[in-house]
Structure formats: structure tokens, C-alpha cells
């Protein structure tokens, strides 16, 4: 098979070729390794997707000649992994200077599971520092560029993962989503991104941003790949007290029609603040859904407009505490020649963290501090209750909720860095699902001004199988062509 032919394969198709013996895992690895290494070598002339790329195929991949029924589920298909997943002996820096060169002594559970299923670690992907950002401009390792337009952002915080998959620098990738960090970059890069139900995938070994919201999920070329990767990720992990046994196995989606399916379109997330071109593409997608036999009706998520506010209290509050461990004592950066302990702490943390991370630590510390807890954190947790209730009510009437994934298409590098609030609005449509802990997937639904638009489908907790099926049917009807980004 030629390199060009190999690049055309989805991860599932590549796994099938390997299992059938018509493609070797080492060959597949080498094709992607070469592309990824070239991007890394190109620095700012490339997309800057990666913070580390494997030098060669792991021995296990080279040695594994198993074909046919003996092949493991992921059959040696290489995987790009967001920097914040700890990978033993491989730099895991969470996009931060404070963890520059940090080599963890253990590997994150999600990555271990995928390795056990046959995935091989291809690269670590660039990201916003500690997953705080919607444009990937907050990385200590430089911004990632959007393969559809190098002057634009790929979205964030899993921007490196999204851009790598869109550009064909990796067959698929692992990302994390706290308020939209898988779905939004997937939308801006024209690929599929799934945030599973909170608790479905172990968080052990994911360098935390906001513990009650963080979830790992796949970024893939299509819905089938997302299902295949998710299938090997889910499950209870005794090392993560918040992880759950998924109630049933994840199945690979097959649906082509949507007869009997009812979609709800929340007025609150599909009106004001959404770019016209995005809305146009969204409404066209609704028409395709109707064509497939689905019912579409309006629903209300009355508290969704407050989700962003609640999120920007809860996530920074948890982050301010999660990031307290970066103190220059056991690992990572320490300021030079500290005068005393306090000086060591304050300079290490000032110099080690970037501006956005410092801003959110300040915000979260403030929201938890004496006298403000009830007004901020306490209230935000109550808003969260209302948002969950809104979803429960909605799902009593409809099967899934549809929204645009992001209010805009990919914006220009530097366009929003001066105004944190406008940047935060990128998560407007994705944050409500995060607060409710429910699964949501973004699939590409068209182009606006030549840039991809994402369609978000959200379901109730643990509805992933049906969600993937529905997304699969829509994907077929929408027939989005992502190949321009792979050139």
C-alpha cells in the first residue's frame, strides 16, 4: 500500500487492514511517524501539533506480526495523546513551562488501556496550558495552527490533537474536555470529537484542570473511529474513585436512518451570539436530520445562559487547588536561588505558569476565599443543579439535543487573546453539557467561509451507544469532506 493510500484510511480501516495482514503495523506507524516528525521539525512553519514524537515504532509494534483473529482490537494503530496524559518516561508537560521536561514515573489509565488494546504511542500533542484555553494560544510550547487556514487557531484546549488528526499527522488522538476542549477544537478543525459521560473514562494520570468536569475522549476522522477508541477506554478504574463501570459494552455504530428519533433544539443555545454562517450550516444539518426521518422540535434549557458563569467559577476554583501542587518541591520548575520558602513558591509559580493560568488561579482562589464562597462557588454549584434538571426535563421530551458546537468558525491567531471574556464565549454551547456530566459529540456539518462548522449532539448519561449511532447516521447524510486539511 502506498503512503498516500495508507493516509486515506480511517483508524478503523487501518486496524482492519492490519488484522487482515494486508498492512503491517510498523509500516503504518512509520508513515505517521514521518509526517509527525516533520511537523515537529518545521516548528512554527508547521502546525506545531506536537510536543514530542516517537523516534521509531515501538519494538512491540515491529515484533507483532499477528494477523487475523489474533490481532488486538486496536491492532497497533498509532495514537497521538494530549500532553496532559502522564506517559511513563515520556515528557508530560500539560503545555506548561512549570512541567518542562517532566518525565512521569507512571502512565495514565486511559493510555494504558489503549496500549493494552494494541494502540502504540505516536506522539504527545500540544495543548493550552493545563487545558485552560479555547485557541491553543496558551501553550508554553507555542500556538498550534489550524490546517484549514494556518493563520487561524485550531480551537482548544485539545488543539494539537484536533489539528493533528485533521491534517493527517495522526490517525486519531486522545484529548480531554472540561468545558468543550474536545468538541470545540474538533468543530474548528472539521473532525469528530466525543466527550463521554463524566466517570466513563478514568481520570487517573490526567494532569487535572477541573476534577469534577475533566473527561478524556477521542478525536477522530469519523464517528466509527470514535466508537472504536471509546470502546477500549471506558470502564471502572480502582485508582479513580469517580470512575464508573460503563453499563454495557460500547458498540460500533451502524445506523443510517433516524426514524423515530426526536431531536430537541434549545432556543437558548441556537440564537443570539451564534455566527450567521454557523447557524446556516446548523439549520441545513437539521434539514438533513428530518430527511433521515427524525423529528426536530424546540426545547428549553432555561439556565443554559448561566452555564458559562457557573463554569468560570467552578473550573477555576478547582484548578486553583489542583495547581497548588506545582510548588517547585518534588518536580518541575523551581525559581533560581530563592531567598526563602515564600520567595521560592511565589516566583516559581509566577514564572512557571503562563498569564491565563495565573489569571484563573487568581479567579478560583478569590471565589473560594473567606467571605466569597457562598456568593460564588456555592451559587455556581446550585446553578449546576438547575442545569442538570433542565437537561433531565428536556430528555423526558426528546432523545437528543442538537446545537452548533461553537458559536464561530476558527478565528484568527491573536484575535481574542487580549479579551479573556470573548475567548471564554467560545465554550458557550459546550459548557452546559460539561456541567451536567452528559455525553456530547461534535461532528463536522459543513463549511462556512471555507472553514468547518461543528454540530453538537448531546444525550443523557451513558447514552453513548445511541449517541454514536445517531451521529453516524447524520455523518452519512452530511457527507462532510475533510480531505483538504490533510494535504
Amino acid at each position: 500500500m502506498s503512503a498516500t493510500d495508507i493516509l486515506e484510511l480511517t483508524a478503523s480501516a487501518a486496524a482492519a487492514e492490519i488484522a487482515a495482514g494486508s498492512l503491517s503495523a510498523a509500516e503504518l506507524f512509520d508513515v505517521y511517524q514521518e509526517r509527525a516528525a516533520a511537523d515537529r521539525a518545521a516548528g512554527d512553519h508547521g502546525l506545531n501539533c506536537f510536543t514530542w514524537v516517537a523516534e521509531s515504532a515501538p519494538e512491540a509494534v515491529v515484533a507483532d506480526k499477528t494477523a487475523g483473529n489474533g490481532a488486538r482490537p486496536l491492532a497497533g494503530v498509532p495514537l497521538a495523546v494530549k500532553d496532559l496524559f502522564c506517559t511513563e518516561g515520556v515528557p508530560s508537560q500539560s503545555g506548561s513551562r512549570i512541567l518542562e521536561g517532566y518525565l512521569p514515573p507512571y502512565t495514565a489509565s486511559a493510555v494504558s488501556r489503549l496500549s493494552a488494546a494494541g494502540a502504540s504511542l505516536l506522539a504527545k500533542t500540544n495543548q493550552d496550558e493545563f487545558a485552560m484555553g479555547s485557541s491553543n494560544e496558551n501553550s508554553a510550547y507555542g500556538p498550534v495552527r489550524n490546517p484549514w487556514d494556518r493563520s487561524r487557531v485550531p480551537g482548544g484546549s485539545s488543539g494539537g490533537s484536533a489539528a493533528a488528526v485533521a491534517a493527517g499527522l495522526a490517525p486519531w488522538a486522545l484529548g480531554t474536555d472540561t468545558g468543550g476542549s474536545i468538541r470545540q477544537p474538533a468543530a474548528l478543525c472539521g473532525i469528530v470529537g466525543l466527550k463521554p459521560t463524566y466517570g466513563a473514562v478514568s481520570r487517573y494520570g490526567m494532569i487535572a484542570f477541573a476534577s469534577s468536569l475533566d473527561q478524556a475522549g477521542p478525536l477522530t476522522r469519523d464517528v466509527g473511529d470514535a466508537a472504536l477508541l471509546l470502546r477500549e477506554m471506558v470502564g471502572r478504574d480502582e485508582r479513580d474513585a469517580t470512575s464508573l463501570q460503563f453499563p454495557h459494552p460500547i458498540e460500533l455504530p451502524t445506523a443510517e436512518r433516524l426514524d423515530g428519533v426526536t431531536f430537541g433544539v434549545p432556543e437558548e443555545l441556537t440564537g443570539e451570539g451564534i455566527e450567521a454562517g454557523v447557524l446556516e450550516s446548523f439549520h441545513a444539518a437539521l434539514d438533513r436530520a428530518r430527511d433521515l426521518g427524525a423529528q426536530v422540535r424546540e426545547v428549553h434549557l432555561a439556565h443554559a445562559p448561566h452555564a458559562l458563569s457557573a463554569y468560570y467559577v467552578i473550573a477555576p476554583a478547582e484548578a486553583s487547588s489542583n495547581l497548588a501542587r506545582f510548588d517547585g518541591v518534588r518536580y518541575g520548575y523551581r525559581a533560581e536561588e530563592p531567598r526563602d520558602l515564600l520567595d521560592m513558591y511565589t516566583r516559581t509559580r509566577h514564572d512557571g505558569f503562563g498569564a491565563e493560568v495565573r489569571r484563573r488561579i487568581m479567579l478560583g482562589t478569590y471565589a473560594l476565599s473567606s467571605g466569597y464562597y457562598d456568593a460564588y462557588y456555592g451559587r455556581a454549584q446550585r446553578v449546576r443543579t438547575k442545569i442538570s434538571e433542565d437537561f433531565r426535563t428536556a430528555f423526558a421530551a426528546v432523545d437528543f439535543i442538537l446545537t452548533p458546537t461553537a458559536p464561530t468558525v476558527a478565528f484568527g491567531l491573536g484575535e481574542k487573546t487580549g479579551d479573556p471574556l470573548s475567548m471564554y464565549l467560545s465554550d458557550y454551547c459546550t459548557v452546559p453539557m460539561s456541567l451536567a456530566g452528559i455525553p456530547a459529540i461534535s461532528i463536522p456539518c459543513g463549511l462556512s467561509r471555507g472553514l468547518p462548522v461543528g454540530l453538537q449532539v448531546a444525550g443523557s448519561a451513558f447514552s453513548e451507544n445511541r449517541l454514536l449511532d445517531v451521529a453516524h447516521a447524520l455523518e452519512g447524510a452530511l457527507a462532510f469532506d475533510g480531505s483538504p486539511a490533510r494535504v
Binding site: L84, F85, C86, S92, S94, L99, Y102, P104, P105, Y106, A108, R203, Y204, G205, M206, I207, A208, A210, S211, S212, E238, R239, D240, A241, T242, A317, E318, S320, S321, L323, A324, R325, F326, D327, V329, R330, Y331, E337, P338, R339, D340, L341, Y345, T365, L368, S369, S370, Y373, Y377
Partner: protein, 495 residues
């Protein structure tokens, strides 16, 4: 956490002695739980292993690691709650207590805040405020100036202890004197030891005690401003530290000053009390529910399991020994609070001797004669005196087959060599003499040998009888019954 302490006037209430102040003392006790592994990770607890050999990503606070609570620590916490008669929370929540310190790897301690495992209860006369679970800090070793740290003083952190499970027990301010505080702490320690939930060794730090101390006019109901005396690591220091702090506050108040709420350190060497937090800002721990842990739901099965593991506790044992066994309150308490004595006593009581040993007499012999012959704090079970032996001995004494004096000699032999009391009595000829002619003859000889004393007794000086009795006891090797000897002396002197 009697944080409700507030300032009150030092006015003397009507009727009280002018200026009399009473101390109000509450204790906060940190108990290291005797689990195998740490509170939130699978590292084995450390007992003096080389530094930083009992760590893992979780207890080092490595990025990405997550805590999972130890089921046995929760189990032990429930046992403590049951022992103290606390209300067990149906749903208990861990919080993060945020502050920076090098012995705290995550920048927060996982502790409990407004929904602790156990609420209320009491032990003895002291009410319990709450009991909660948390993780211990690591150990800091001060190493002085280090060339490797820019000339300034340095410390080394050893994370072996970090993450050890702790139960924090907080009392209500029900104690009034330093002696009462240390005695109550002993009762708590015995209780915890009996439960088997901790080594309760103060010197090794598995039991640590802070005291909240305030003064108020005797009889007042409001609380004065309290200070917190930190980490006193022996019963003696607790008494001395509290006494010193009461004296300090008393002097301050009587001198017209006011007590400031602060954290203090007592130096047992110099007896000095110093403030710990003078230059630090007021603490703002920013407590919030630990998002990495779900609320612990306390199921009935967990409570049943904790109940099943409960042994009889000192307070209950004292009550049983008093009511069912019929011991004096003092003996019952002594045996119950020194559990090893109680166990030995009960073993001796169960060894049915013939003649039988009356319970109270047996208790007296165990807590008096036997304990005084053993080393300080020695467990009689590890001595040569088997419980059956002392039971048999006390039976012989009680039935006057052996005099008290001879009984003591037998006990000396038992402590030295062990053995069977009856055999010792027979071998040494220590059987009590019946009051027959032989004893009368010895008494007569004693009166003759101590004629002066006999005269003084006859003249009405009862104390003069000593040398006469002494002569009889020497002659009989202590086998004579003291009462009978006394009767015979008086009979022969015609008084």
C-alpha cells in the same frame, strides 16, 4: 473545633469569690490509625524505613494522581464513633483544606469539614464534638544552612509519613484542670488501644494532642478567649503545658490585660510558651468538597461490621466489674483502665480455686500486692505468677488457711520462681497455725521475753504490743493469724 469561643467580661459573678477564675479546656487529638496502608493510596505505613521509600504518585502529589479512600480507615473511624457514642453520618464528605507547606505535597490536606464521619458523643464526663478522618503531613527535617540552597537554612522532606490515616477527635470544652485533662486523655488512649485502631504511642507521635484553653470567672457560662496549645507529646507535658498556659492567662487577666486568640507552643525544656503564627497572615483554608472523591455513604452493613469488631471498652468494663462482679468503684476503674490488669484479674477470677477467692480480695491482691512486686507498667500475664496461682493463694488467705503475712511470703516465691501456692505452703511450713496450745505457748514465751512491753500494754499503751507480736511472728515464721495472736496476748495479760 469549639470556634464559638468569644470574649467575655472578667466580672465576678455574684456569690463567687472575687477574682476567682476557672479554666475551660477542650482537646483536639490526632490519632494515627493502625491500617496497613495510607489513607488515600496503597503505600504501606512507615515504621522508621529510610526516607522516601514509602511513596507513590498519590502520596507524592504527582500530577495526575488521584486519591481513593481506605475502607479500613473508615471502618476504624466508625468503631471510634461507636465507642464514643457518636452519631454516625449517613453520608460523609471529604473536603480540601488549602494551604502551602513543604510537608503538604498537593497544596491541600484532604480532611473533613462540615459533614464529618461522627458527630457528638461522650467519653466519661467529657462530651465529644466530632470525629473526622484526614491524612497526615510528611516529615520535615531541618538541616540548617545548606550550600545547595543559596546559603539559607534548608529542610529535607521525607514523604514516608505523608498520607498516614488520622482520626481527629475534638472534645467539647468540658475539662477544667490539667490533671483532669491528662487523666481523660489516658482514658481515651486506653479506649483506642482496646479498640485496636491505633498504637496510641505519644512518644512516637501516633497520638498527638492540642489543647484549647480559656479562662472565665468561676461559675460563668460564657467562654473566654481561647488559645490553642499545639502538639504536646507526653502526658506529663500536657499537664505542665496546660498549667503553664493557665498561669500565663491568669497573670494577664489579673494584670488587667486581655488574652489574644493565637496558636502557642509549649517548650517542655524551658517551660516557656511561645506564639507560633506571629508573622503569618490569618489562615484562609478555602475549604471545598474534594472533587476527586465521592461522598462516603455509610451503609448499615458498614456499621454492623464496625459493631462486630468492637471489644468491651474501659468505661463499660468498669461498670460491669462494679455491678456484676461486685468490686468497689475504685478497683473496678483501676482494672478497667489498665486493661492488662483487668484481663489478668478476670483470668484469675475464672480459675475456680478451692477454697474460692472472693472477688474484691482477689482484686486487692492483684492491684496491690502483685503490682507492687512487678516492674513499672509490667503486664502480670508475662510474670511467673499464673492467674490460677494467685487465685489459689487468695483463696487460702481468705479462708485463713494461710495468714496474710505468710501469703505475702508465698507471693514473693511465686514472683521469683512461679509454682503452686499449696506446694510452697507445704514445703516451707507456712500453713496457718490453729489457735491451739502451740500458739498459746509461743505467746506466753513472747510475753516473758518482752516483759517491759507487756507491762506497758497492761498499763494501757496498745502500741507497745508491737515487739510481742513481732516475736510471735518470728517464732511462727508468720504462720500465726494476727487476730488470734492479739486475742491470746490480751487473754494472757488478763485485759
Amino acid at each position: 473545633m469549639s470556634d464559638t469561643a468569644n470574649a467575655s467580661s472578667t466580672e465576678t459573678p455574684a456569690g463567687g469569690p472575687p477574682g476567682a477564675l476557672e479554666a475551660v479546656i477542650g482537646l483536639e487529638i490526632h490519632v494515627q490509625l493502625a491500617t496497613r496502608t495510607k489513607m488515600f493510596c496503597g503505600c504501606e505505613l512507615s515504621f522508621g524505613e529510610p526516607p522516601n521509600t514509602r511513596t507513590c504518585p498519590v502520596c507524592l502529589g504527582l500530577p495526575g494522581s488521584l486519591p481513593v479512600a481506605n475502607a479500613r480507615a473508615v471502618h476504624f473511624g466508625l468503631m471510634i464513633g461507636l465507642a464514643l457514642g457518636s452519631e454516625l453520618a449517613p453520608r460523609s464528605i471529604f473536603h480540601r483544606k488549602n494551604y502551602f507547606y513543604p510537608d503538604l505535597p498537593k497544596g491541600y490536606q484532604i480532611s473533613q469539614y462540615d459533614e464529618p464521619l461522627c458527630l457528638g458523643g461522650s467519653l466519661g464526663e467529657v462530651r465529644i464534638h466530632r470525629v473526622h478522618l484526614e491524612e497526615d503531613a510528611a516529615k520535615l527535617i531541618h538541616v540548617g544552612a545548606s550550600g545547595r540552597i543559596h546559603g539559607s537554612d534548608a529542610s529535607i522532606v521525607d514523604f514516608n509519613r505523608g498520607g498516614t490515616p488520622l482520626a481527629e477527635i475534638v472534645t467539647e470544652p468540658d475539662l477544667r484542670t490539667p490533671e483532669q485533662a491528662s487523666e481523660w486523655l489516658r482514658l481515651l488512649r486506653t479506649t483506642l488501644r482496646q479498640l485496636g485502631v491505633s498504637d496510641v504511642n505519644m512518644e512516637e507521635g501516633s497520638l498527638r494532642c492540642d489543647a484549647n484553653i480559656s479562662l472565665r470567672p468561676a461559675g460563668a457560662s460564657e467562654l473566654g478567649v481561647k488559645t490553642e496549645l499545639k502538639n504536646m507529646n507526653s502526658f506529663r507535658f500536657i499537664e505542665r503545658g496546660i498549667r503553664a498556659e493557665i498561669a500565663r492567662q491568669e497573670k494577664l487577666i489579673l494584670g488587667g490585660g486581655t488574652v489574644v486568640q493565637e496558636t502557642l507552643h509549649f517548650d517542655p525544656g524551658s517551660g516557656a510558651i511561645t506564639s507560633l503564627r506571629s508573622k503569618e497572615e490569618a489562615h484562609d483554608y478555602r475549604y471545598f468538597p474534594e472533587p476527586d472523591l465521592l461522598p462516603v455513604r455509610i451503609e448499615q452493613a458498614m456499621i454492623d461490621a464496625a459493631s462486630a469488631d468492637m471489644t468491651e471498652l474501659p468505661a463499660a468494663r468498669a461498670e460491669r466489674l462494679r455491678v456484676e462482679v461486685g468490686l468497689s468503684a475504685e478497683s473496678a476503674r483501676l482494672l478497667a483502665f489498665r486493661g492488662e490488669l483487668g484481663d489478668y484479674f478476670e483470668a484469675a477470677l475464672a480459675a475456680t480455686a478451692d477454697p474460692a477467692a472472693p472477688a474484691q480480695v482477689l482484686a486487692n491482691w492483684v492491684t496491690g500486692e502483685l503490682v507492687s512486686r512487678l516492674g513499672e507498667g509490667e503486664d502480670p500475664a508475662s510474670s511467673r505468677v499464673r492467674p490460677e496461682a494467685i487465685s489459689a493463694l487468695v483463696g487460702l488467705v481468705a479462708e485463713k488457711h494461710v495468714s496474710v503475712g505468710a501469703g505475702r511470703q508465698v507471693l514473693d516465691r511465686l514472683v521469683a520462681d512461679g509454682g503452686d501456692p499449696e506446694a510452697i505452703v507445704a514445703a516451707e511450713g507456712l500453713a496457718a497455725m490453729d489457735g491451739g496450745d502451740e500458739l498459746a505457748g509461743i505467746v506466753a514465751a513472747a510475753l516473758e521475753a518482752n516483759a517491759d512491753a507487756a507491762t506497758r500494754v497492761r498499763e494501757g499503751n496498745p502500741k507497745a504490743v508491737g515487739p510481742i507480736v513481732g516475736y510471735v511472728m518470728r517464732e511462727t515464721k508468720g504462720r500465726a493469724d494476727g487476730t488470734e495472736v492479739s486475742r491470746l496476748i490480751h487473754e494472757q495479760l488478763g485485759i
